[in-house]
Symmetry: C2
Subunit: 407 residues, 2 copies
């Protein structure tokens, strides 16, 4: 009796059998009286296969052509899904990003949605059809195909839900929801019933890998209720919703570990005003996202500066760092890609003190050294040795009693 | 120094190595000073794989969705080709059918081109870029993706050449040209230097499988010079051009055998006016294309009627025939899918007599029975036993001395 956006990721449409299963779920929701828009990703590993193929023909494929290539993955999926729904006796119509006017900027391979024209989807829904929409893709103002970056189908789904004022945006996953920690690392991790956008945004950025961070920003902006659900059963997953006062009672909602960053240390940087800005500016100029940064106490006019960068930018970041040490007449550059970032997230931190203290003493009791620290209003992250990361995560999970449902 | 359309079929872009080879050819032609538009098909067996996948999700996939699915094959090819050209140091830009406004009717899976807007291609060429265009596909007036049927990339290439008034439309094949007969069946078959549109049209319809028949109609209408060329070398292939008087000197240009038809015989059909029309009307109503039709001499008010239909329509055609015999109170239906159609084609037949006589006496000398005959101004076809077809083709090829180049 409502409007539901259902998003199926690559593993949920990996082969014909899984596509048929997803189609059954779509048809069931339709027959319960709802208007359904299904947003579909490329089949399983197809995107990776196409990327590999592109590198066989070019060492540096132009991004515009990469988008033209990769967008075929979702187009195949929507066509197959529409066929599967049709075979179950419901009318379906597939749409590419271009066909429903998902207009983006022109930053190929990581475009941002500027506008969605829902006319064609609304026409289809009014005609009693199920709309099957290609995730991850759009077109710029000159009809060049663009893509939204890995995980972009989440953003497509949430954006459509926002434009249509859908009752809920269901994200189907083979994990089944958002957990207090990665269940593969923490056996007694618990599925979280309800999270605020802010918490999910922090977790998404910290390696929880459930949803693209940008999709949560959209959900927040357009007030879209998200339900991250299991693709393998009808049970409830995790609702991601606007914050309500009672959420503050939960001090720590979840914990996460990320091994996707590396630490770069610039030794013996002259300790004078403007140097830190020069260092950060050097990385920013190359679009390298510096996450954490610390500087030790100056000794005889020089200090060591450490920062973390995404592992995927490490080679470029090292070049930048070496160039900076030459410009600044600083010491050598050291790289440590054997680090992990351990984080705890919770809205309750805003009003509860002592979270950092508890986290640090748990790690001390485990004999784990903290290399860097960064905090936000609702998050504390520390950099530790990668070898200790899983043990640290389990200790933190236990210390904050995350396995127990909140009262 | 001209404008050249180059069309690469599925085998010419089957893998990364072949795509790179085709890209080298494109770049070479560009660096000789030409403006190049490359029209590209789907990689090798990808279309067949996608069709198989569609049948895994639906017993009867809707045609609109089939087009949405299959059109991704060419889109992948153009992106990969543009990457390969770029890697060789020339600027390229890929276009889907939708992006360059190839507007078709809405007959999904066998749409016909209504209009092409060359603006974007011309802009690309004027900017010094190589335009890489997806063959086989277009969009209807509501932006639904359509496809032009198997071999439709030929039609895309010829239509673009026509709209741009290109100097030549080069069709690259792994056969290397049009032959006097299929070289796999007739070892001394000879590559034909020059053919008229009418002859190529007949050969294309008769199983020569070099080009889609509709593409030749386009070439004829817009006077596009076609050059069917080998993809594996730089040697010349076959030019398909407007007829010139000297072509009439060649009585028979080529011969072909097709096993793609079956014969249906309706026994003891009442021999009265209107019956033949009723029979043909019955097939036409089901869109079954009847090729040849004969009726034997009436005996006591009843006659036998035989007709040939495409093998792919045989099951449906048999149903139609059985229904017709019931309606007409006729005798039984017999089906023979063990036939072959042997044809000779040549413009010179218009002005030279004796071709049919020679063909029939050669077959008689070989002891091969002729079951049905049909003729046009420039073609004679006979239906014979399939087992004798290759022997008959070789005998005819020899009798008309097709292995010898015309004087």
């Amino acid at each position: 009796m409502g409007t539901i956006v259902q998003k199926f990721g690559g593993t949920s449409v990996a082969d014909a059998a899984k596509i048929r299963l997803a189609a059954e779920r779509i048809v069931r929701a339709k027959r319960e009286g709802n208007s359904i828009i299904a947003v579909v990703s490329a089949r399983g590993d197809l995107t990776d296969e196409l990327v590999a193929l592109s590198h066989e023909v070019s060492a540096a494929p132009p991004r515009r052509e990469m988008d033209m290539l990769l967008s075929t993955g979702e187009q195949q999926s929507v066509a197959l899904m529409a066929m599967a729904v049709d075979a179950l006796g419901e009318e379906a119509i597939s749409f590419s990003g271009a066909q429903i006017g998902i207009v983006t900027d022109s930053f190929h391979t990581k475009a941002k949605i500027k506008n969605i024209d829902p006319t064609r989807i609304i026409e289809a829904l009014d005609a009693g059809k199920i709309a099957i929409v290609a995730g991850f893709q759009g077109v710029d103002e000159n009809f060049n195909v663009t893509t939204l970056g890995r995980g972009g189908s989440d953003t497509t789904a949430v954006a459509i839900a926002g434009v249509l004022k859908a009752d809920v945006c269901e994200i189907y996953t083979d994990v089944g929801g958002v957990y207090t920690a990665d269940p593969r690392l923490v056996p007694d991790a618990r599925k979280i019933e309800r999270l605020s956008y802010d918490e999910m945004l922090e977790l998404a950025s910290l390696g929880a890998r459930v949803m693209q961070a940008r999709s949560i920003e959209f959900a927040n902006k357009y007030n879209v209720a998200i339900h991250v659900r299991p693709s393998y059963s009808d049970s409830e997953g995790t609702y991601i919703v606007r914050e309500v006062p009672e959420m503050e009672g939960i001090v720590v909602s979840g914990a996460a570990v990320s091994e996707a960053e590396a630490k770069i240390t610039l030794r013996a940087v002259p300790d004078r005003p403007g140097v830190a800005a020069a260092v950060l500016g050097g990385f920013a100029a190359r679009k390298i996202n510096v996450d954490m940064i610390i500087q030790n106490i100056s000794a005889s006019g020089f200090a060591d500066m450490s920062l973390t960068v995404p592992m995927s930018d490490l080679a470029e970041a090292r070049e930048v760092a070496v160039a900076l040490t030459e410009d600044l007449d600083a010491g050598r550059v050291e790289v440590d890609d054997n680090i992990a970032k351990l984080s705890v997230v919770g809205i309750g931190m805003r009003s509860h003190t002592g979270v950092a203290e508890k986290m640090f003493s748990v790690l001390a009791a485990e004999g784990i050294n903290i290399q860097m620290i960064s905090t936000s209003e609702i998050k504390i992250s520390v950099v530790i040795d990668q070898a200790s990361a899983q043990r640290a995560l389990r200790a933190i999970h236990r210390a904050f009693e995350l396995e127990k449902a909140p009262a």
